[in-house]
């Protein structure tokens, strides 16, 4: 057999060896797998395409919200003694996108830093931003409608939450959103009397002068208003214009008449005696007959007021006329007014004529003169008929309203041609009003940096708001944090304006800058005090060196030309499944900027405010810093830029003991785990308010823990405690989705 075989050798037919087949399979498999790997790439491309749509939507929303939402936070204090006393110079009020929008009503929340540090990205951009103090943000689940979160219907999951993003590029230095030492503009309906306001009785008010005559100045406490006092800020002593006090309240002493017997009181003229000569107690019972419920106002010199009446109305006009002539008489430009027995003395005047004052820095006097005269004279139409058949009565068409002259501060008001009496008619009143409105509007438009005249509530315009900025190139102001124990040093940049501020006057909240006199409890002006007014009058800040509180005007750049690229920042979006981490809800919030806490301005302990005349020794005790932390009301609808950005979804206590899936609503009796669902916000202080106070009746948390988000938050807002599958030791990689450039403005401006 073997021989046959040998004789007829079989042709050699060898197949692939197993090894060759294996190699072939490897090659084939490699090819197949390579092809198969293209499929997930396609899927990924589709996913990224979707994220780009999300990013486009979110970027559009952010730009819209940044530019179109309100910049008001009415619940905060806007004035202090020094720049660091209010939030105006702080991050919370900066006109930058992330500062504006990282708020519970505006839709972007910072990722917990510990979580953000686990995310890799191209060029390590995310970690670089974090290392520079920046935040990576995620989106709130709902669109930013600004409406009450509690009342919104529960929405399905929002895909945009899968995006994370940041604001890249350095922000421009912004203008000051508020000027702490005087938060201009002050606004009042125009025409108006001298401004007055509710004010706490504290150590920054000048002491009332109780002597009739030149040194008189007073404020008043209403018995039904507790600690709120009525302070005539605008006519306060050592403000711009001492004559204005006559228009507000002045005990008239006739220098040419014998003095009244001892113990007598002089009649008061001006706005306050007319409008506020009577107080009432707000009794609701019918058992107390009128007028037992009514009491006269007691002025600082002991004079009793009377109810509004014709006499006090005429007294108001008398004061306003005196002020008008005191300011305008030297020019003689309005000498045709106040005719004697000649109705319509103003009939030859065009109310829309230009200022008669040729010196621009004096024009405020013309404006103020007509402002007060218009307001006072219109009062007459409530008391005097247009036409009256009884010749014993005044009227405003034929006989006029008779205003006697007044001699105050050595100046005597008078009628046309030097006659002693002044008559005012219907036509005059209409002219005064139109002239006042015209001059006010002219003044506002022409002199945005002349602060002698408050701005009009009934016609606010853009130029009411001055453009101020911090001077970063002059030595800062230094001092200490009010109420800090022990004393904490503080510093703040000096403000500068584009041009010297004229007639800045005093602050209405802190008319005596007591901080500059070592917070003296004295109610007299301490010697050497640097009043706000004195520091900025007449362009003192034009000096190259800082003067008083102002910086160097040469450092002002807000109005300087700029290149578009200088104001370009970037929103960078990534896709990352950050909610897959096991602790994505229980991690503490990213650090909340301290400026997000609405801290009250400097205050003193008021004691009993219902004192008349005031007992000044009651209010010398400073409120501590911690007390100031409890002085502000946490009102959502009036605090847009404050509190934790995650405020609505914050946990109120440590949730680590609770299993995944625990519902956050309806547990623990009346209280909930999530701040959004805390019932009855009116019955308790907000759980994040205060320095270290336990929320009344609430678990074991403290307000500072909640405010800072130390317990985490329901970050997907599904009202269930969630934990993802990924352990915290795993790193994930974020895929770049897109970049969007946007304009970074320096000045707050709302588009509509």
């Amino acid at each position: 057999m073997s021989r046959l075989i040998q004789l007829h050798p079989r042709p050699l037919r060898r197949g692939f060896t197993l090894f060759e087949v294996a190699i072939s399979l490897v090659l084939v498999s490699f090819g197949v797998v390579s092809v198969l790997m293209l499929f997930p790439v396609g899927i990924k491309a589709q996913e990224m395409a979707r994220f780009r749509v999300y990013a486009a939507c979110k970027a559009e929303e952010m730009v819209e919200t940044f530019n179109a939402t309100t910049n008001a936070n009415p619940a905060i204090d806007t004035e202090g003694l020094m720049p660091w006393d209010t939030a105006g110079a702080y991050r919370a009020q900066a006109w930058d996108m992330e500062a504006r929008l990282s708020s519970h009503r505006y839709g972007i929340m910072p990722l917990p830093v510990a979580l953000a540090q686990r995310i890799d990205s191209d060029s390590d951009e995310i970690q670089q931003i974090i290392s520079q103090g920046g935040y990576i943000y995620y989106s709130q689940p709902l669109a930013t409608t600004e409406t009450e979160e509690q009342g919104n219907p529960k929405a399905p999951p929002n895909d945009a939450q899968k995006l994370i993003f940041t604001i890249s590029g350095y922000a421009q230095q912004n203008s000051l959103t508020m000027f702490a030492m005087k938060n201009w503009p002050y606004s009042t309906p125009m025409p108006s009397p001298p401004m007055h306001m509710s004010h706490m009785p504290d150590m920054w008010l000048p002491k009332p002068g109780t002597q009739a005559g030149g040194s008189y100045w007073s404020f008043h406490s209403w018995p039904y208003c507790g600690e709120d006092w009525d302070i005539p800020w605008e006519s306060i002593p050592f403000n711009l214009d001492p004559d204005m006090g006559v228009v507000y309240d002045y005990p008239y002493v006739n220098p040419s008449a014998p003095p009244l017997p001892a113990g007598s009181h002089y009649p008061h003229i001006g706005y306050f005696p007319y409008a506020c000569g009577t107080i009432y107690w707000g009794q609701t019972t019918t058992s107390i007959p009128y007028p037992a419920q009514v009491s006269p106002t007691t002025f600082a010199d002991g004079t009793l007021g009377i109810a509004p009446c014709l006499q006090t109305a005429l007294g108001y006009v008398q004061a306003a006329v005196w002020y008008f002539e005191k300011k305008m008489d030297p020019t003689g430009k309005y000498s045709m007014l106040f005719s004697s027995g000649n109705p319509g003395g103003s009939a030859t005047l065009d109310p829309h004529a230009d200022f008669v004052s040729t010196v621009e820095t004096d024009r405020w006097q013309e404006v103020q003169a007509f402002r007060f005269l218009a307001h006072a004279s219109t009062v007459l139409t409530s008391w005097i008929s247009y036409s009256d058949s009884n010749p014993a009565n005044m009227d405003l068409s034929a006989r006029g309203a008779l205003i006697p002259p007044a001699t105050i501060y050595g100046f005597t008001s008078h009628g046309a041609g030097g006659s002693s009496n002044i008559y005012i008619y219907d036509g005059d009143i209409r002219y005064f009003h139109e002239r006042a409105m015209y001059l006010l509007m002219q003044f506002y438009a022409m002199y945005p940096y002349d602060w002698a005249v408050p701005r009009s509530t009934n016609r606010t315009i853009m130029t009411d708001y001055p453009l101020l900025m911090s001077d970063l190139y002059s030595p800062p102001l230094v001092g200490s944090v009010f109420g800090s124990q022990p004393t904490v040093p503080a510093a703040g940049w000096r403000p500068i304006s584009s041009e010297p501020i004229q007639h800045i006057g005093v602050s209405q909240t802190y008319p005596i800058m007591a901080a500059q006199s070592n917070q003296s409890p004295s109610w007299t002006i301490p010697s050497g005090i640097v009043a706000l007014d004195a520091s900025m009058m007449g362009g003192a800040n034009t000096s190259p060196a800082p003067t008083s509180i102002f910086g160097n005007i040469d450092h002002y750049t807000l109005a300087a030309p700029f290149q578009p690229a200088e104001r370009c920042r970037e929103i960078v979006f990534w896709a990352a499944d950050w909610q897959s981490y096991e602790d994505f809800e229980t991690l503490p919030s990213a650090p909340v900027d301290a400026s997000k806490y609405p801290l009250s301005g400097p205050r003193t302990t008021t004691g009993s405010g219902n004192v008349n005349p005031p007992t000044f020794s009651l209010w010398s005790q400073q409120r501590t810093f911690y007390q100031r932390m409890g002085d502000m009301a946490f009102r959502d609808e009036q605090l847009w830029a404050f509190r934790s950005p995650e405020k609505s979804m914050l946990f109120l206590q440590d949730m680590s003991q609770y299993p995944t899936g625990t519902p956050l609503v309806g547990l623990n009796g009346a209280y909930q785990w999530e701040m959004l669902n805390v019932p009855n916000q009116w019955g308790y202080p907000p759980p994040d308010q205060g320095a270290n106070q336990s929320w009344v009746g609430k678990l074991d948390n403290t307000a500072d823990h909640v405010f800072n988000g130390l317990y985490g938050a329901d970050r997907n807002f599904n009202q269930v405690l969630d934990r993802g599958p990924l352990p915290r030791s795993v790193r994930i990689r974020a895929q770049l989705v897109g970049r969007f450039n946007f304009y970074d403005p320096r000045v707050p401006a709302i588009l509509r």
């Binding site: 899927i43 669109a143 399905p156 040419s256 509004p308 219109t378 409530s382 008929s385 219907d426 509007m441």
Partner: protein, 566 residues
């Protein structure tokens, strides 16, 4: 012997290996196909979803710009917000309330008493064929105010009281300045605990000495700071037809509280106290002098009934104060006009009713519009919200920081409990902030009110009603409301997967056109349907219809009644 050739078969091992390899190949192929199939399916699904998402995105962007979900100019069946409100009236105005897309010409025709001209009283410059000034242009009033000395001055621009789409609200124009006394308010009632106000004209019924009731009326005027209706009013007043501004009885010399008082003068100090005198007399004001400013009051009154309350906020400038004065209507007493409620004279000084608000008169506090100032006055809580609980003048911030207005989608179904339909909703305000924290009653109060607002403004509609059943359903909505002075346009794209039932929503705020812009996009129905052509399409413009064929822009929904231009 036959040659026998041997043939070796695979060994068992070889066979097994072959089978294994074959299986591996088959498995690999199968797995590959399966993965490929799944991947393709997922990719196709994602692609489809993305396509629908993009389509939804473009849909809402298109809607943000063109408002087609509320009004389709090419489809008359989707113009439900164009008719007027019929006889439903919210004020004593003689206008007929309109809807957000009611053509101005329709309101104009329904309101023939109004003086409607373009570019002010003299049409400067004229809108004529070939003129560069056309319907779409908005310019400030030319300089040079036609004023003269008080009180005989007159300004014909003040009489141009209807909406003029060709003139802007220039802040330098004196007719745009608000002249209401914002510090004045109705003193009658301001909530519990305050109705013992002795300044209330109706409170004091006895004098200080306790026995002598005042004959009638009171001791201080109910309008404390004067009659601002003299400066600005709905009616211009004329010498031939003088109007009155209320009258009231007051005390001439009111020494009831203790100290005598007389006006100080240069001749003497005040006399010693004298017995008190209460000499009541009537103060009346009926003057032939012209009222200088009538334009602003008429603008406010007009917009209260023109397109709805949110439209009012959009059309008027952001610094507007929503209030105006009217002269004393016939049928009202002087005290009513002044804001004092009706009361019964009670010689013993009896107490007044707990609620003194007078709901039956159109004005108060010296002629201030009740609709503008009194919380809840009018149907469905009216225009004014309850912020501050005061009867006083306010602007957009206070009117919208705790409550909102909106534009309502006419396709949203009516509520089952008989709440108002789409038209009245444009004349309602809805709780939207701290008052919407929880609860609610009625269509617009509390949490329910906010949800009603959101559901009816951002009403989601299917983007593709005839889509295949296995496609993801895509719903889109653009809801428009005003909150804290912010004109919110919230866009929603909601996807429902028919296989999994999962719902995912993309919602965001969008940048879009204002209502005024949207109205100016639409052709005046007098000239047909569709979009208004503008001067960026000169080929079309040369043959454009309208009162002035060949002029630059076509008439749009804001154009007034067709009229012959000079």
């Amino acid at each position: 012997m036959a040659y026998h050739r041997t043939t070796n078969a695979f060994t068992l091992i070889e066979l097994m290996i072959s089978i294994l390899l074959g299986t591996l190949i088959l498995y690999t192929a199968f797995a590959g196909f399966r993965t490929a199939s799944q991947a393709i399916t997922i990719a196709n699904s994602l692609s489809l979803e993305n396509s629908l998402l993009r389509a939804g995105y473009f849909q809402v962007q298109n809607d943000l710009d063109f408002w087609t979900s509320l009004d389709d100019p090419n489809n008359t069946s989707n113009q439900k917000l164009r008719p007027t409100g019929g006889t439903w009236s919210v004020s004593a105005s003689n206008t007929i309330p309109g809807n957000p897309f009611t053509p101005m010409s329709m309101l104009n025709l329904a309101n023939g008493v109004k003086n409607i001209t373009l570019r002010g009283p003299t049409i400067q410059p004229a809108i004529t064929a070939g003129s560069p000034t056309t319907y779409g242009e908005i310019k400030p009033r030319p300089p040079g105010y036609l004023f003269g000395p008080i009180p005989s001055y007159s300004d014909p621009w003040e009489a141009d009281t209807f909406f003029d789409p060709t003139v802007s609200y220039s802040p330098s124009d004196p007719r745009t300045w608000v002249r209401v006394n914002m510090a004045e308010k109705d003193l009658a009632y301001n909530g519990p605990g305050w109705d013992t106000n002795p300044l209330d004209a109706n409170y004091g019924k006895q004098d200080y000495w306790g026995t002598t009731p005042l004959p009638y009326g009171s001791f201080v005027p109910p309008v404390t700071f004067g009659r601002y209706g003299l400066f600005s009013n709905l009616l211009p007043n004329t010498s031939s037809q003088p109007v009155t501004f209320g009258s009231w009885q007051i005390g001439w010399n009111l020494n009831f509280i203790g100290q005598a008082y007389s006006l100080p003068n240069s001749g003497s100090n005040p006399p010693p106290p004298s017995p008190p005198q209460d000499i009541p007399y009537m103060v009346t004001y009926k003057t032939p002098n012209l009222i200088a400013h009538t334009w602003y009051p008429n603008q406010i009154q007009l917009f209260l009934t023109l397109f709805g309350f949110q439209a009012m906020c959009e059309y008027l400038p952001p610094n507007a104060i929503y209030n105006f004065y009217m002269s004393q209507p016939s049928g009202m007493t002087g005290l009513q006009y002044a804001g004092a409620p009706n009361y019964n004279y009670t010689p013993t000084g009896g107490h007044e009713p707990s609620n003194e608000w007078d709901w039956g008169t159109p004005c108060t506090a010296g002629g201030m519009s009740r609709q503008c100032t009194q919380p809840g006055w009018g149907p469905y809580w009216g225009f004014r919200n309850w912020d501050g609980n005061q009867i006083t003048s306010i602007g957009m911030y206070r009117q919208t920081y705790s409550t909102s207005f909106g534009y309502f989608n006419p396709w949203a179904p009516p509520d089952p409990n008989g709440e108002p339909g789409i038209f009245p909703r444009h004349y309602m305000h809805f709780d939207s902030d701290y008052t919407a924290f929880s609860g609610g009653s009625g269509p617009n109060g509390g949490e329910l009110g906010l949800q009603d607002l959101l559901a009816h403004t951002a009403f989601e509609q299917s983007m593709l009603p005839l889509e295949p059943t296995n496609w993801p359903t895509v719903m889109t909505a653009v809801g428009r409301l005003v909150k804290t002075g912010h004109f919110v346009s919230v866009a929603k794209i909601r996807r429902l997967n028919p296989l999994t039932g999962a719902t995912v929503e993309l919602s965001f705020l969008g940048l879009g056109t204002t209502l005024r812009g949207a109205r100016m996009q639409r052709k005046d129905p007098t000239y047909g349907t569709g979009w208004a052509h503008w001067d960026d399409d000169p080929a079309v413009m040369t043959s454009a219809p309208g009162p002035n064929p060949g002029q630059g822009n076509e008439p749009n929904l804001d154009s007034p009644t067709p009229q012959t231009q000079p």
